[in-house]
C-alpha cells in the first residue's frame, strides 16, 4: 500500500480522522441501501411469512412457500433457471479460457483486435442485442439463409428455445469474464509460465498445472457474479427464450404484472434472493480471503 501525503497530526488522531472519513464516505451509500433495498426487502419477507394462500393476513405461516414448492410450474421454472444458469457458466468458461489464453500467449497485431471484439458486447444494450439475435438466428434469418446457400438446409433456429436464451446470455457474459480472467492472469508472474514452457510444458499443461491454480479465486468470482447476473436476467430470456419454462426473473414479472399475484411474486423473489445469497457469500468469502492474502504479503 502506498503511503498517503503527510498530515501534521499525531498518529492516533490521524487514524481517527481517516476512520471517520471512511465511514462518512460510506454512509450515504449505506443509508440508501438500507432505505431502498434492505427495509422494503425485510417488509416483503415478513409479508410472505404472514399471509395465507387466500391473500389474508394471518400469524406466522409457510403457506406461500408451501404453495411454491408444491406448484409444478413454479418448481419447473426454478429448476430450469438453475439448469440454464449452470449451462451458461460452463459454456462461458469453455469459451473464455481459450480467449484469455490466446490474449496471454499471442503477441500478434490480431491480439488487440480479438480483445476489443471480446469486450464489444459490453457496449451493446441488451434490448438491441436481443432483437439483433432474433433477426440473425430466426427461421429465414441471416444465418439460416447463409447456411442454406451453403447447402445446409436442416437449420433449427434457437429462437424461442432454451438454446436461444443460452446463446444470448453467453454473448452478454463474455466481456466481463474475459476482463476478469485477463486481469487475473496479468497478476501471474510471466517468468513462472515461461520457465514452465522452457522445461517443455505444453500450453494445456501450463494452463491446468500453473495458471488455473493461481487464478482460482478469479474463476470463483466470475462464477459467482455471472450466476447472479443470470439469475436476474430478464430481457434475453423474455425475448429469445421459450414461453415455458421461464427463467425466474421473467416468471416473477409475469406473476406480479400479468397474473396480479403480488405475494406469489414476492415469494419467488425471496426464494431467488436466498439462492443469490449463496453465490453472494461465495463471492464475499473469496474476495475477503484474497484481500487477507494480499495484505499478508
Amino acid at each position: 500500500m502506498p503511503t498517503t501525503a503527510q498530515i501534521p497530526a499525531s498518529p492516533g488522531s490521524r487514524r481517527l480522522i481517516s476512520a471517520l472519513g471512511g465511514y462518512g464516505m460510506v454512509l450515504p451509500a449505506f443509508l440508501l441501501m438500507v432505505a431502498i433495498i434492505a427495509y422494503p426487502a425485510v417488509l416483503s419477507i415478513i409479508q410472505t411469512l404472514t399471509t395465507g394462500v387466500d391473500g389474508r393476513a394471518t400469524g406466522f405461516t409457510l403457506a406461500q412457500y408451501l404453495f411454491f414448492f408444491h406448484d409444478r410450474l413454479s418448481m419447473t421454472n426454478l429448476l430450469y433457471t438453475l439448469r440454464v444458469g449452470f449451462i451458461v457458466l460452463a459454456v462461458l468458461l469453455v469459451v473464455c479460457f481459450p480467449i484469455a489464453l490466446y490474449l496471454r500467449f499471442s503477441h500478434s497485431k490480431l491480439t488487440s483486435a480479438v480483445y476489443i471484439l471480446a469486450l464489444f458486447p459490453l457496449f451493446v444494450p441488451t434490448i438491441n442485442l436481443s432483437f439483433a439475435m432474433i433477426r440473425f438466428t430466426t427461421t429465414h434469418g441471416l444465418l439460416d439463409t447463409l447456411l442454406s446457400r451453403a447447402g445446409l438446409v436442416h437449420y433449427v433456429t434457437p429462437y424461442l428455445r432454451t438454446s436461444g436464451t443460452i446463446i444470448g446470455l453467453v454473448w452478454e457474459g463474455i466481456p466481463f469474464t474475459v476482463l476478469i480472467l485477463n486481469a487475473a492472469r496479468v497478476q501471474v508472474d510471466d517468468s513462472l509460465l515461461e520457465s514452465a514452457r522452457d522445461v517443455g510444458a505444453s500450453i494445456p499443461q501450463v494452463f491446468l498445472r500453473i495458471l488455473l491454480p493461481l487464478i482460482k479465486n478469479a474463476v470463483i468470482i466470475i462464477l459467482a457474479l455471472q450466476f447472479l447476473g443470470i439469475l436476474g436476467s430478464y430481457t434475453i430470456p423474455y425475448l429469445l427464450g421459450p414461453a415455458e419454462p421461464e427463467m425466474i426473473g421473467v416468471f416473477m414479472e409475469r406473476t406480479y404484472d400479468q397474473v396480479h399475484a403480488p405475494l406469489q411474486a414476492q415469494t419467488q423473489a425471496v426464494i431467488s434472493f436466498f439462492i443469490a445469497a449463496i453465490a453472494g457469500i461465495l463471492y464475499v468469502r473469496t474476495v475477503a480471503s484474497q484481500q487477507r492474502r494480499t495484505e499478508g504479503r
Binding site: A29, L73, Y159, L160, A243, P245, R254, Q258
Partner: protein
C-alpha cells in the same frame, strides 16, 4: 463510492431535464390554449402533436392545442380525480379535453359527480356521421378503433383456404403444422385476443357471459379449461412445435420473413406495416365472420367544467371529422368510427377485407385476464418442449 456518484449524477441529470421541461411548458400564449390530456403510446401522441393539432389549429386559428401526456408520473385517474375535485370546489380544472379513454375509465365516481358532457348532434355537428355499429357511449366520443385480425400470406394461402370462422381457423392450423403463430397472451394483445376468442368459442360464442363483475374462481374453473383444450390441441401445430413469440412485433416479423403463413395481428400495426412496406403487399388481412376477434374503441370526453367549453367541443368535432378520420386510417392504421361510405374509395378498399359491420366483442379484463394469463402458461405453453 461508484454507486453514490452514479446516484448523484442521475439526480443532477433529472434536475436539469426537469428545468428544461418546465421552461418548455411556459410559452407565449396569444390564442386561447386548449389543454388536451392524453394517455397513449408515442405513435398516438406523435400523431396528435404532429398531425392533428396543426390541422385543427389551421382550421380554427383562434385556438392553440396544448397536449399534456398523462402517463407515468400523473395518470389519467389523477387527472379525472383532480377534475372532479375542481368541479366540486368550483375551481378551474385547467382541463378541456380528455383523450384516449376506454369504457372502464368512465368510473362510477366520475359518473356520480356528473362530470361528463353528453354528446349529441346539438353540441357536435359531426355526430351524425358516426357509424352506428360502433359502440358509442353517451359521454365518450369514439374516434378510432383497433381489433385483432388474421394476417396471412396470400402467396401461400389460397383464397379458398382463408378461414372465415374460428373452427375453420383451427382446422387450417392443424392441417398446416408450423405455419401459424400467435404471441404469448400477456405479452401482446394480438395473442391475448386470439386466446380470448378461443374462450368465447368454448363458451357458445357469447361474449356477454364474461363481465367485469361476474368473475369467480369456480366460474373460471368451468369456463376456461375447454379453451385450454382447444389451444393445447393446436400447440404442436404452432410455429416450431409450439414456440410463441414475446410480443406483437416479433410475431409480425415471423410473418414478414416468411417463417409462418398466418398470424393474428392488431389491425393498426398490420395496416401501418403494410403502409410502410415492413409487411409485403402480398400479406392480406381478414376478420372472422362468425364472431370477430375482440378489440376496442378509443374515446374522447369533455368534463362539464372544461375551462374553454366552446373550444373543447370544436376540438371534439374536428376529431371525428372526415379529414381526421381519414388520417386515422392513413397515418396510424386505426379503424375509423364514421360511416365507411363517407371515406374515400381507396381507404375503403384498404379496409374492406378487414372490416366487419359487427362491433368487436369487448373482454372485461381484470380478474378474467389474470386467470387467462395464469392458465395459458400452465395448461397450454407447458406442452411445448
Amino acid at each position: 463510492m461508484r454507486f453514490g456518484f452514479r446516484v448523484s449524477s442521475l439526480a443532477l441529470i433529472s434536475a436539469v431535464a426537469f428545468l428544461a421541461l418546465g421552461a418548455a411548458g411556459v410559452q407565449a400564449q396569444a390564442r386561447t390554449t386548449l389543454n388536451v390530456y392524453v394517455d397513449a403510446d408515442t405513435n398516438i401522441t406523435d400523431w396528435l402533436s404532429g398531425t392533428v393539432a396543426p390541422a385543427f389549429e389551421a382550421a380554427n386559428p383562434q385556438y392553440k392545442v396544448n397536449m399534456v401526456i398523462a402517463r407515468g408520473g400523473i395518470t389519467m385517474d389523477d387527472v379525472i380525480n383532480r377534475t372532479i375535485a375542481a368541479l366540486k370546489s368550483k375551481a378551474d380544472p385547467q382541463v378541456d379535453v380528455i383523450e384516449g379513454l376506454d369504457p372502464s375509465d368512465f368510473t362510477k365516481a366520475s359518473l356520480d359527480a356528473k362530470l361528463w358532457v353528453t354528446f349529441s348532434k346539438q353540441n357536435i355537428p359531426n355526430y351524425g356521421t358516426l357509424n352506428p355499429a360502433v359502440n358509442i357511449l353517451p359521454y365518450g366520443l369514439p374516434y378510432r378503433g383497433s381489433q385483432v385480425l388474421i394476417a396471412y400470406d396470400s402467396t401461400r394461402v389460397p383464397q379458398n383456404e382463408v378461414p372465415k370462422t374460428f373452427p375453420q381457423l383451427i382446422a387450417w392450423v392443424k392441417a398446416h403444422p408450423g405455419q401459424f403463430v400467435y404471441c404469448r397472451p400477456d405479452k401482446g394483445g394480438s395473442g391475448g385476443n386470439f386466446v380470448i376468442r378461443a374462450i368465447y368459442e368454448a363458451n357458445g360464442r357469447n361474449p356477454s357471459a364474461f363481465t367485469a363483475d361476474n368473475y369467480s374462481d369456480s366460474l373460471a374453473g368451468t369456463r376456461l379449461p375447454p379453451a385450454w383444450k382447444i389451444l393445447s390441441d393446436i400447440n404442436p401445430a404452432i410455429f416450431q412445435n409450439g414456440s410463441y413469440p414475446a410480443g406483437n412485433l416479433p410475431t409480425l416479423q415471423l410473418l414478414a420473413n416468411g417463417s409462418v403463413s398466418m398470424i393474428t395481428a392488431w389491425s393498426d400495426m398490420a395496416l401501418q406495416a403494410l403502409g410502410n412496406g415492413t409487411l409485403p403487399s402480398t400479406i392480406k388481412l381478414t376478420q372472422l365472420t362468425d364472431l370477430p376477434f375482440p378489440g376496442g374503441y378509443v374515446y374522447t370526453a369533455i368534463p362539464v367544467n372544461a375551462t374553454h367549453m366552446a373550444g373543447a367541443l370544436a376540438f371534439a368535432n374536428y376529431y371525428i371529422s372526415l379529414k381526421n378520420e381519414a388520417s386515422v386510417v392513413k397515418d396510424i392504421g386505426g379503424f375509423p368510427t364514421i360511416k365507411l361510405s363517407l371515406l374515400p374509395q381507396e381507404l375503403q378498399d384498404v379496409l374492406s377485407a378487414a372490416l366487419t359491420d359487427k362491433a368487436p366483442p369487448i373482454w372485461p379484463s381484470g380478474s378474467w385476464s389474470d386467470a387467462l394469463n395464469a392458465g395459458w402458461y400452465k395448461y397450454v405453453a407447458t406442452n411445448a418442449q
